[in-house]
């Protein structure tokens, strides 16, 4: 499989299905693991990193369970290709921007990926569409067992899995749920909700891990603590707050409908109108408007677009995706024009189909 093939697909986490998928975008679990007989990555020589990368590649290659993975040498990828993998959440920004021998193995269905020589030797992640942490844990636990047959992990009797940063020690596990919370943003509830989450040791970040100003009103909630609690407890800690978050967002949406339906309808219709007709548009504006449209579709205010289409547009209008889909490198000005064209093509085509059916 080539990166070009990935570009055309939508990827597991934006498939737009799964439980509560109008608000819960995806569920993700990652495990940080290190090999016992090498220093942590920061202290590795180039030779050490080569040995680690080579050993992992060979093992994946000969193991039946990893038959369908695509193994990518990140160091030799172009910057557009690296950015493309970041946009798809298959690698971290840290792995993309780093240097020296480093790699990623990507599952054909984009359900999991394994980063090699990031902050830790191994970073394994599993992603599911919608709210589905339990099966994500079953899958990542099984993959971890398979890797462990070959690799001796750095493990301490009292401290558990040892990681380069003490913030990850113990389980080495980060559980995240990505939520779409536009109504909480409009009603200015979001900060307050986050403060209460922080009090129970949960962290909130934006779509690509940025701080407070989340792109497209997407927020990731994850566990802060990794030591002293079993994996199942950490998963429960995150999944237990999700129903409350869904409830807050639904109540905020109901409130907006009840108190200012005209304003809300106007807002999402304008957003839709701009996306269908703009001649040049930035990635930030696109994300913001798509967020309004997505909520509008979920509330039945816009009827001629489907949620999977909107989800796909969120990712296909990202800078590197646009360039991969077009097949050439584009500067910012040309990207903004290409993005407007892409949006018109995909939103208007749906319109046309809808009309055809009605006739």
């Amino acid at each position: 499989m080539k990166l070009e093939d990935l570009a055309g697909q939508c990827g597991e986490w934006l498939r737009g299905s799964g439980p509560e998928s109008d608000i819960v975008i995806s569920s993700r679990i990652r495990l940080a693991r290190n090999l016992a007989d090498f220093p942590f990555v920061r202290k590795c020589t180039l030779q050490d990193r080569d040995s680690i990368e080579g050993a992992v590649r060979e093992y994946l290659h000969e193991n039946e369970a990893f038959r369908e993975v695509t193994y990518l040498d990140v160091d030799s990828l172009s910057s557009v290709d690296r950015q493309f993998l970041v946009e798809r959440q298959l690698i971290s920004r840290e792995l993309s921007d780093g240097d020296g021998p480093r790699a990623v193995a990507v599952d054909a269905h984009e359900k999991y990926s394994l980063m090699v020589n990031e902050e830790d030797h191994l970073r394994l992640q599993v992603m599911n569409s919608g709210l589905d942490l339990t099966s994500a844990w079953d899958q990542i636990n099984a993959l971890d067992d398979i890797l462990e047959k070959k690799v001796t992990y750095a493990f301490h009797d009292r401290l558990g899995y040892l990681t380069a940063c003490p913030t990850n020690v113990g389980t080495g596990m980060r559980v995240s749920v990505m939520l779409h919370l536009p109504a909480l943003v409009i009603t200015r509830q979001i900060e307050k909700v986050f403060r209460s989450l922080q009090k129970i040791s949960l962290t909130v970040r934006g779509l690509y891990g940025e701080g407070s100003q989340a792109m497209g009103d997407f927020y990731q909630i994850s566990n802060q603590i990794t030591l002293g609690r079993a994996e199942e407890d950490l998963i429960a800690q995150v999944s237990d707050v999700v129903p409350a978050m869904i409830d807050y967002e639904r109540r905020a949406r109901e409130f907006l409908i009840k108190e200012s339906q005209k304003d809300l309808h106007d807002r999402v219709s304008r957003a839709y109108g701009i996306l269908c007709t703009a001649q040049t548009i930035s990635s930030e504006e696109t994300m913001m408007l798509l967020s309004s449209v997505r909520m509008g579709v979920n509330l039945g205010l816009i009827e001629d677009v489907e949620i999977p289409t909107i989800n796909q547009l969120f990712i296909h209008t990202q800078p590197a995706h646009l360039q991969k889909l077009r097949g050439i490198e584009l500067d910012t000005v040309d990207r903004n024009i290409e993005r407007a064209l892409y949006l018109q093509r995909h939103l208007r085509r749906q319109d046309a189909n809808g009309d055809a059916e009605k006739n």
Partner: protein, 167 residues
């Protein structure tokens, strides 16, 4: 007549509805009081400890400059990282650091996680001997240093030892 701010005589230009309580709570505020109200959020925002913050705080407490200097110079016998280097970058050098800096890391770990021991998955195949593994890290480093100082005799001896360990 325009509605007045709940806290002063100015007209209320911000109408905020709190939905996080049991029932919606309406607030009508002027720009100044709305700003104050909304920015209360930011002040308590960073309650969750960050590594750098916890480290700085921990080292400020009960440590004289002299003690801190001595602590900073401590080095892991396996990978050679100093505590100072860890403090600067927030990343450890090898698994053995958790043993070498155990006393320094313990309060830091408790501060971050609120716990000091792992409760969760264990590898099914526990490392036959962790010491042997860390020996490998040390031997490779010593060999690299021997090569760099052109002490080839020592380097080849170390290489033989490494091979013996690896098989």
């Amino acid at each position: 007549m325009p509605m007045k701010c709940q806290h002063c005589e100015k007209p209320a230009t911000f109408h905020i509805t709190e939905l996080t309580g049991s029932k919606p709570d309406e607030l009508h505020l002027c720009e100044y009081h709305a700003r104050t109200y909304l920015s209360q959020a930011d002040e308590i925002e960073n309650e969750t400890p960050t590594l750098a913050g916890v480290l700085a705080q921990q080292l400020k407490l009960g440590q004289t400059a002299q003690e801190l200097e001595r602590l900073d110079q401590q080095a892991c016998p396996v990978c050679g990282i100093t505590f100072y280097e860890f403090r600067q970058h927030g990343r450890l050098g090898c698994p053995h650091d958790y043993v070498a800096f155990e006393k320094e890391l313990e309060p830091l770990i408790v501060n971050i996680h609120g716990e000091s021991s792992h409760d969760g998955k264990h590898p099914k195949r526990v490392a036959s001997s962790t010491d042997k593994r860390t020996d490998l890290i040390r031997l490779r480093r010593e060999m690299k240093e021997a090569v760099e100082s052109e002490d080839y005799e020592n380097a080849s001896m170390l290489r033989d030892q490494i091979r013996k360990y690896e098989t």
